[in-house]
Symmetry: C2
Subunit: 217 residues, 2 copies
């Protein structure tokens, strides 16, 4: 069966975004620089339709993470647009413009129904049935490939707590955010990790763990 | 001036001990294995008066951490014996027996007066004047060498929050504890880290950061 991989960038103190996230400040106070390590990579530029960019260990690690993925899952906050129903005068179509960097089906966890949204070769499917429904749909769409949940913290924490994650990839950056959206919040001790790979980048450390939940460990 | 280094082992979710620490279970529930990576090292065996042990990247990193240290600081919980005054029928003399692995002055943060305790070449000095008093005394004893605060989380968090730490060394092990004593708890965002060195061990990743506080950064 296709694996569920969870990939996210955290501060040294375990936050994926600072406090008081908003449309104007989607990564919260102090969180602005958390993804700087990624922006300069060739892999990042490639999925955004740009050429050039840095090669090296971080790029190799990121290309490995992009390989073999058939569908993605994200939380409502990562898709953005604030809470509440979707039917508004100017519908929120994500942060990424007309050519989002996913290029595959993306299942968005939400409490509010919305028709699928296709932008270039990315289709966002809005799932109101919870994390297992989203995973089932994503796995079917992935057709044997793996599924990635790429954020935010709450979405990944829900999948970790439910014992549904097979691989966890953390990019740890040398920031201390102090508060905000914390990875592992509400994730109990019945999770077993195995350190599989560590890659040292420039101002970032990449850690890959295999994950087993208590019931299957 | 001599630097203050903070060295500690944390779980992947940032805890240095699990919940419900006690004399019987000093590392809390689930925390038992958190230091297993260290026990097998030649450096660890050496400071405990034993020979043998593993060499390799983790041992080299640990020897670097032991080098150039003239005094240590620890919190009351790390010294152990439970809370409250020290005058009791059987005084608590630490976890380490007659030959503690420090071999230098160790300043113990406590709310209760106690005469210094010498065991072999380690002297424990009990400091009731707070973290700055302990650091001043440790620096004087260190005579130009560095000072290490080695735990627990609360002691390190206090020094971090006060902007007094110059170097932070984390040994991250692939455990998820879920709750307990969390490193960085109460440490605000006015701390700047610079990733200086990352070493990959067997079931542990060692990260060394330079630390600047907001006022000096």
């Amino acid at each position: 069966m296709s694996n569920l991989r969870a990939y996210i960038t955290t501060s040294a103190d375990g936050y994926v975004a600072g406090p008081n996230q908003s449309i104007e400040n989607p990564l919260g106070e102090g969180g602005d620089g958390i993804h700087d390590w990624a922006f300069k990579l060739r892999a990042f530029r490639r999925i955004h339709g740009d050429s050039g960019g840095d090669e090296g260990p971080s790029n190799d690690f990121t290309e490995e993470q992009l390989d073999g993925i058939g569908a993605q899952i994200m939380g409502r906050n990562m898709f953005g647009g604030g809470p509440g129903p979707w039917d508004r005068d100017e519908p929120w179509n994500g942060w990424w413009g007309e050519n989002p960097p996913f290029h595959m089906p993306v299942y968005v966890l939400t409490h509010h129904d919305r028709e699928p949204l296709t932008l270039s070769d990315t289709t966002f499917i809005f799932v109101t049935g919870g994390i297992r429904s989203a995973l089932d749909q994503a796995r079917e769409a992935a057709a044997g490939k793996d599924v990635v949940v790429g954020g935010g913290a709450e979405a990944i924490n829900q999948y970790l707590a439910a014992g549904l994650v097979d691989e966890l990839g953390l990019n740890v950056v040398p920031l201390v955010l102090g508060s905000g959206a914390r990875l592992f919040e509400g994730v109990g001790p019945d999770i077993e990790l195995e350190q599989q790979k560590v890659v040292v980048g420039d101002g970032v450390t990449h850690l890959r763990y295999a994950v087993r939940s208590g019931s299957s460990a």
